[in-house]
Amino acid sequence: MCKHHKDQAVAGSHRRRWPGRAALWLMFLLALVACSDAEQEPDTASDNRPQPVPLLLVDGQPAPSVLAAEQVIYRGNGEEPQTLDPHVAEGVPAANILRDLFEGLTTEAPDGSIIPGAAIRWNISRDGKTYTFYLNREAVWSNGDPITAEDFVFSLRRSADPRTASNTAHMLLPILNASEVINGRMPPEQLGVSSLDEFTLQISLTDPTPYFLGLLAHSSTYPVHRASLEQHGGRFSRADNLVSNGAYVLKKWEVRSSIELEKNPRYRNADTVQLERVFYMPIEDLATEVKQFRSGKLQWTYEVPNAQFEWLRRHYHDELTISPWLGSYFFGFNLTREPFIQSPSLRRALVLAIDRDVLTEKVTRFGEQPAYALVPPGIGDYQPAVPEYASWTQQERVAEAQRLYAEAGYSEDTPLRVEIRYNTSENHKKIALAIASMWKQNLGVITELVNEEWKVFLQNREQKVVTQVFRAGWISDYNDPYGFLEVFRSGNGRNDYGYSNPGFDALLEQIAQERIPARRGRMMVEAERLLLDDHPIIPVYTYVTKRLVDRRLQGWQSNVMDHHYSRYMYMLKSREEAERTRARRAEQPDTASGADPEPAASGQQGEAAMDAAAERRS
């Protein structure tokens, strides 16, 4: 959780006195301890009110003299969001906006750690399956109505109701009966959610789910205002109709032009919110987005185009921020089709024969972190199951690959012929081409590249009839390795690999039941190792987010989820002020890093980079 504090992020909360800084970190630690302790000593966790948000801002709140007179920012936001109905919305652009508009039972601190949101505290039962949330009694909707437990009951039922046709309802699966409700076998009223009184909400789970509090910060669990929904129906998420409970309200929505949010004066923490207005600009063309940033129109970009990465690194060094993201880029094998059905050694040969250092340094050329495992680094204290060949030299890997390749019955005269399939994109093509040439060079494999339009590609992958080797990748919705492992369960809808290992499935079952974090962590590592030993995938690299941010925009921090709430941000008056903040911070390096709970964590891959365009868009 509390990880990856990058320079520019900490620079934001410019503080003069180090005790304030230490207090801040202490608060984050408390938040963490509070979350994790809850699992061990459920009944004492009731005093779960770390409140780092108000304190951070009291401490981190800049003096009015350094603030820009106009607290308005323009954020580049990729594509037009499909909808602003939190239960139907999917995709990064919509999620960014919804995080500003709504607030779930829990929410996230600038560093991505889970903190109380609409619920000020909660109890977790001894078996870890019953959560009791105590709502903030003063909190109101943007129209002044009180936010009650009944609102959450209604909203969670709506989100799970198949009639809502939510694409993200799977986030609710840990809740008791959610699977039955989503699949229409039970009415929504049977969902394990009930209100004990006006401001007390109880949620029952099927299995103890240690990451459940994190799910409650996801849009599929946001409350919606029942009266306005019933009044406006499908149009309730329009600018004049939307009633929300977050730090901002929807002021204006011009399709594919801009979405304007305005500070919600009724938000529970409204006095700590600095930005008065936030514009989300849908800009599909990344080169255009960069030009708009350079001309001063945008203060925050959605991404940067790979083609300009080197140039930006040179000319916009201070504005360019790169940080690890919770996603893995890899290629998959179709295990239901020849030549990969019964041939772990052939798969292993192909996995070993590619040089990830060359791929990341020479092909994509952004120096991203090569990956050897499925789960990306940066999830809590989870240490991905890195296979032993990761520490070999490339010569050793190639030698082993050649041995395995020959063992599988292939040779120069009878080479393996294989297809790599990917969705049309310059970056995927480059990587596929490089992999093909490495296989050719090291093993003599004859590879054909096939590119397909996105939807065709998805369908082919799912049907597992024509695919052999195909581009894949996974970006998790929640901060837990389980999100990655689960994909490979037998029969999972997105198990396009046709991977099926009873031992792995059984382990996943156990993980779902396990409540002790350390044991659960070990089991997940074991599951990942089991999976990687079977080689259903070719790990390539870990995703990274990269964007340009105006140096005057402060108050945010890099985090693996890439969630950035506008309510923490503020604009400084001038670049010079931003420089001074930076300088002040540099003068006190000890306090800066000394209080950092895990200072080493960011160094590992802070410089990594990648192209996530395809995934983000999909």
């Binding site: 037009e80 499909q82 909808t83 602003l84 109905d85 139907v88 999917e90 198949p162 009639r163 046709a165 939510s166 694409n167 993200t168 309802a169 799977h170 989503i182 699949n183 229409g184 499908g234 149009r235 998420s237 329009r238 011009e254 399709v255 594919r256 032009s257 801009s258 600009m281 849908p282 800009i283 599909e284 063309d285 080169a287 255009t288 987005e289 030009k291 708009q292 350079r294 001309s295 129109k297 339009e453 996105w454 939807k455 065709v456 998805l458 369908q459 082919n460 799912e462 999972n492 809808g493 997105r494 995934e615 999909s618």
Partner: protein, 312 residues
């Protein structure tokens, strides 16, 4: 002649119906032939939700039933809800996007017509001089340099370096229109200029112009009164479909300048298998083209004395 014209107009209008019907039918079935559906994403939907989605958008009905239901909607000018932009109907999306595309495309067409004909006439009058060659050379460049090269260059110079104009985005202000209009107009200016030059030269060599010259009419009168109208005929017939293309938006221009026009819907709608949106914009585009062609026909009749709609 008057009654003949009216009759012609009516018959032309009636002929639009089968054209549009063919267009609707083709588009309807072609988009459904494409693999994948609107709700296929990287995350898999539970079957029940999938079924609900299909039912909500009537995708679970037999194809022919869907087709006839759709025809029924079209008659009422109801394009249905968008699959992709779930908060909006296709009608609303077109209503928001078309004014933008119409403004930019319309301005670009006006600019292109005025500049293009002027340059063309000038070149024709100075045929085979340096003025002619240089203007036509520039026009050739205007045609050959694609707008995805021109547009970023214009932004880089005028928005990023000099800072006179915004680097894309959209507001109802001339500042935001200048660059897209110029980019859109450039190749059309060039095309019209070349066309005008060619037909002008031809007209200037015809007998009646020679007669006019022989009568001693001043060159200005010959050009404006006698030569211009027939010289513009090919330009007019080109302008019908060209205008339709311009005012329904250009994908490239919209992406590069980040403009919320109609053009992008053709592409994103197709890529996302947003059946209703694609159908909506395609039919809308078809309608605009057919109507503009009709207008061109009428203009043609007015401009060209050779065309008459008499009974005989």
């Amino acid at each position: 002649m008057q009654s003949g014209l009216v009759q012609h107009a009516v018959s032309r209008l009636l002929a639009l119906v089968p054209t549009l019907l063919a267009l609707i039918t083709l588009a309807f079935f072609l988009i459904r032939v494409a693999p994948g559906g609107p709700f296929d994403t990287e995350k898999v939907l539970p079957p029940e939700i999938r079924a609900n989605l299909d039912a909500k958008y009537h995708l679970d009905d037999p194809l022919l039933e869907q087709y006839f239901r759709y025809l029924g909607q079209i008659v009422r000018f109801d394009f249905g809800p968008s699959f992709q932009y779930k908060d909006w109907t296709v009608n609303e999306l077109i209503a928001q996007g078309f004014p933008v595309s119409l403004t930019i495309g319309g301005l670009a067409m006006v600019l292109a017509f005025v500049l293009g004909t002027m340059i063309g006439i000038l070149a024709a009058l100075r045929q085979n001089t340096y003025a002619d060659y240089s203007v036509m050379g520039v026009a050739m460049m205007g045609i050959s340099i694609p707008n995805f090269v021109v547009a970023p260059l214009l932004i880089l110079v005028l928005a990023v370096y000099v800072g006179w104009l915004p680097a894309g985005g959209w507001e109802w202000s001339p500042r935001y229109m200048v660059l897209p209009v110029i980019t859109l107009a450039l190749p059309v200016i060039a095309y019209i200029a070349r066309m005008t030059r060619g037909s002008m030269i031809e007209v200037l060599h015809s007998n009646y112009i020679r007669t006019a010259r022989a009568k001693g009419l001043p060159a200005r009168v010959i050009i404006t009164r006698h030569a211009l109208k027939p010289a513009l005929l090919p330009v007019i017939s080109y302008m019908g479909p060209a205008t339709a293309g311009l005012i329904t938006g250009s994908v490239v221009i919209e992406r590069i300048y980040s403009i919320p026009g109609l053009g992008s819907y053709f592409v994103t709608g197709a890529l996302n298998r947003d059946y209703t949106l694609v159908m909506g914009v395609v039919i809308f585009y078809g309608l605009v083209i057919v109507l503009l062609n009709f207008v061109v026909d009428m203009l043609y009749a007015w401009l060209n004395p050779k065309i008459r709609f008499d009974e005989n």
